[in-house]
């Protein structure tokens, strides 16, 4: 049996450029733990499709993640760094504009 792929929809915020994730409520949130973890790839693609034209974000794509104790957990190190911010200058959480 092939390993189940979980996905999260992610992008960069248009105004601030910071990393954002799509939450279960359909809003963009800065913390990966608040992201919606989508267990099936077809649904994930659909969610991606829905927000592709969202003008408040840039460069939407699907990132593979796994369920973790504190919500979605990035699999690839690039996504880990995107979630954490640069090692030398720890991420200052961005305030979400309304």
């Amino acid at each position: 049996m092939s390993k189940q792929v979980f996905s999260v929809v992610t992008a960069n915020d248009l105004l601030g450029g910071h990393v954002v994730y799509l939450s279960p409520l359909g809003t963009w949130v800065p913390e990966v733990r608040d992201a919606e973890l989508i267990p099936d790839i077809a649904r994930a693609r659909l969610r991606l499709e829905e927000v592709t034209d969202d003008a408040s974000v840039v460069g939407v794509y699907l990132a593979e993640m796994l369920p973790g104790p504190d919500g979605p957990r990035p699999m690839h190190f690039r996504e880990v760094f995107r979630a954490q911010g640069p090692s030398a200058h720890a991420r200052v959480p961005e305030v979400r504009h309304v």
């Binding site: 960069n12 248009l14 105004l15 840039v58 760094f81 640069p86 030398a88 200058h89 200052v92």
Partner: protein
């Protein structure tokens, strides 16, 4: 220093106004990202991993105190209080908000700076020897030529859509401190029978297909520079491949057509263009030159310098590594290390920028340089002022005595910032610097250039590091490949790959074994790592990096 005239100023301000309008239209939704992207890139605005990034050109690496202060102001006002100096004499601000960028560009225009042509397929910031106008070994200050090239290439209608980006580096000294052979055009000044000329090389470049530039003209009279460079650009514009981004640089055209054919085409085009220039460029050059008149140097005693060297070992160590010979007796070129052990190479805080601005005004004829090695240069310091200067630097964490040593690492931003990265480079640089500092070995190891890139684009120039490190993604894990024996001087040699890469954990011990092997095999402290490598070849170093393989083969 060159100051914008009314034309330059009006041009830059018009571009800011244009961009302000474009940002407004983007924010209102009138422009899509697809439409906006090329417009923002034309103004040096990238979208990186965690934020936008504004790349600002520092033409020929030269800044006044006022400009440096303005960079500090920009960092405080619209960023997070620091900037990052790159290997191409740019400064990058890592955290701007889109709506603020027009204001940042306006603030740059106020001090005669801009971010134009720091991206895109055009002629990029023309880089120069960071010791220009000061080095004892220099024939002529190359910066008037660099400024002439900057003016000529800025918004040049024919060269805004080249097949690919185009980088030019220039040095006024036969000693190449500008890595000219790793540029699309490299210009190295030579003296022949008392006349100055440029050795013109083309097709150099690191990146995914690293190549050493080939000499197109061994000696071009200086006055022919502009028509000749235009002839190269116009030949490349026609010949360069537009079908494949990875084959679009001039180095591929040189590789595919051969240097002889390119030379034939360039020379033919040159003979058409040269009469058209009609001397206007030389008039402009003469005008530009007046801005680069050498400072009026003082002649006073430098007794205090020797006395301080005798009495203060910390000062002495710093003068041993961070000073270079100045053309003017009694003076020195000071390299201020931005590589305090554990610091991010090339990062500078706004407070440090302000301090450096003040020190330049006080001790260095209001002149600062940014080197491609990510350090700051105070080019004209009287030796009598060095003890006071050193004390001021020490107090701000800028007094590290390590220029040219193993901890004076060039590192690109890597995956801490860069969207193209395949691995991190900054933490690797920090760990190496801290480790060799803890071992108290770096002064014993002596001159060694270690350079790190976070992907094959090679912004960290790893191919020309005596030791180069390239960060890759191997099946979802960061992996670091070592190259050995690279050289970025006028000899220009690309390093050779030592073997399989190392994980982040294995890398540091591997480097320690490599350095231990060098110390064991060298003939004495005067034989540098690179010299030892050339004498011995790669074998003993590979054996140190891969002891298990070496044992199995034995």
């Amino acid at each position: 220093m060159y100051e914008y005239d009314a034309f330059d100023d009006a041009f830059v301000r018009a571009r800011v106004a244009q961009f302000r309008n474009q940002v407004e239209r983007r924010l209102s939704g009138a422009l899509t990202e697809e439409e906006f992207r090329p417009l923002r890139l034309m103004n040096g605005l990238y979208l990186q991993l965690h934020a936008y990034m504004l790349r600002v050109a520092i033409p020929y690496g030269t800044l006044t105190g006022r400009q440096m202060r303005q960079l500090a102001h920009i960092a405080d006002q619209w960023d997070r209080g620091y900037g990052h100096f790159t290997t191409r004499q740019n400064i990058q601000f890592n955290w701007p908000k889109l709506k603020d960028v027009p204001d940042m560009l306006e603030a740059l225009a106020d001090v005669g700076m801009h971010a134009i042509q720091t991206s895109g397929n055009c002629v990029r910031n023309v880089t120069a020897d960071h010791f220009a106008g000061a080095a004892a070994d220099e024939i002529e200050d190359p910066r008037p030529w660099a400024e002439l090239l900057r003016q000529w290439s800025t918004d040049h209608p024919e060269f805004q859509f080249l097949p690919r980006k185009f980088k030019i580096a220039i040095t006024g000294s036969p000693r190449d401190r500008a890595v000219t052979r790793a540029h699309d055009i490299g210009l190295r000044m030579l003296n022949e029978d008392g006349a100055a000329g440029f050795e013109v090389s083309i097709g150099g470049g690191l990146g995914r297909t690293p190549m050493v530039g080939k000499v197109l003209r061994p000696f071009l009279p200086v006055a022919d520079l502009l028509p000749y460079v235009e002839a190269i650009l116009s030949t490349y514009n026609l010949l360069g491949r537009r079908d494949n981004k990875y084959k679009a640089r001039i180095k591929i055209a040189v590789h595919e057509h051969g240097i002889e054919e390119i030379r034939r085409l360039v020379e033919a085009r040159f003979s058409e263009l040269r009469p058209l220039f009609g001397g206007g460029d030389q008039v402009r050059l003469a005008e530009i030159r007046t801005h680069f008149a050498p400072p009026v140097f003082e002649s006073r005693s430098d007794d205090g310098f020797e006395a301080a060297r005798r009495s203060d070992p910390v000062f002495r160590a710093w003068t041993d590594t961070n000073l270079s010979p100045h053309r003017q007796p009694g003076h020195a070129i000071v390299t201020v290390s931005l590589k305090a052990h554990g610091a991010v190479p090339g990062d500078v805080t706004s407070a440090q920028m302000r301090l450096l601005a003040g020190l330049a005004e006080r001790y260095s004829h209001d002149d600062l340089r940014i080197s491609h090695e990510q350090n700051v240069i105070l080019p004209h310091v009287h030796k009598a002022d060095l003890p006071a200067l050193h004390a001021a630097l020490l107090g701000a964490g800028l007094g590290t005595a390590n220029v040219g040593l193993i901890s004076d690492i060039i590192a690109c931003p890597g995956m801490d910032y860069c969207a193209l990265a395949t691995a991190r480079s900054i933490p690797v640089a920090q760990a190496i610097a801290q480790r060799f500092d803890a071992l108290k070995l770096e002064h014993e190891i002596g001159p060694l250039k270690l350079k790190i890139s976070g992907c094959i684009n090679a912004c960290g120039h790893h191919h020309v590091g005596h030791i180069g490190i390239l960060g890759l993604d191997r099946a979802g894990v960061e992996n670091y490949q070592i190259t050995l024996g690279g050289d970025g001087t006028e000899r220009t040699v690309l390093g050779e790959r030592a073997g399989p890469g190392f994980s982040a954990e294995e890398l540091l011990p591997a480097l320690e074994r490599l350095i231990a092997a060098y110390l064991e095999h060298r003939e004495g402290p005067e034989e540098t790592f690179l010299m030892a490598f050339r004498r011995l070849g790669a074998a003993p170093f590979k054996a140190a990096l891969y002891p298990r393989e070496a044992r199995n083969a034995a």
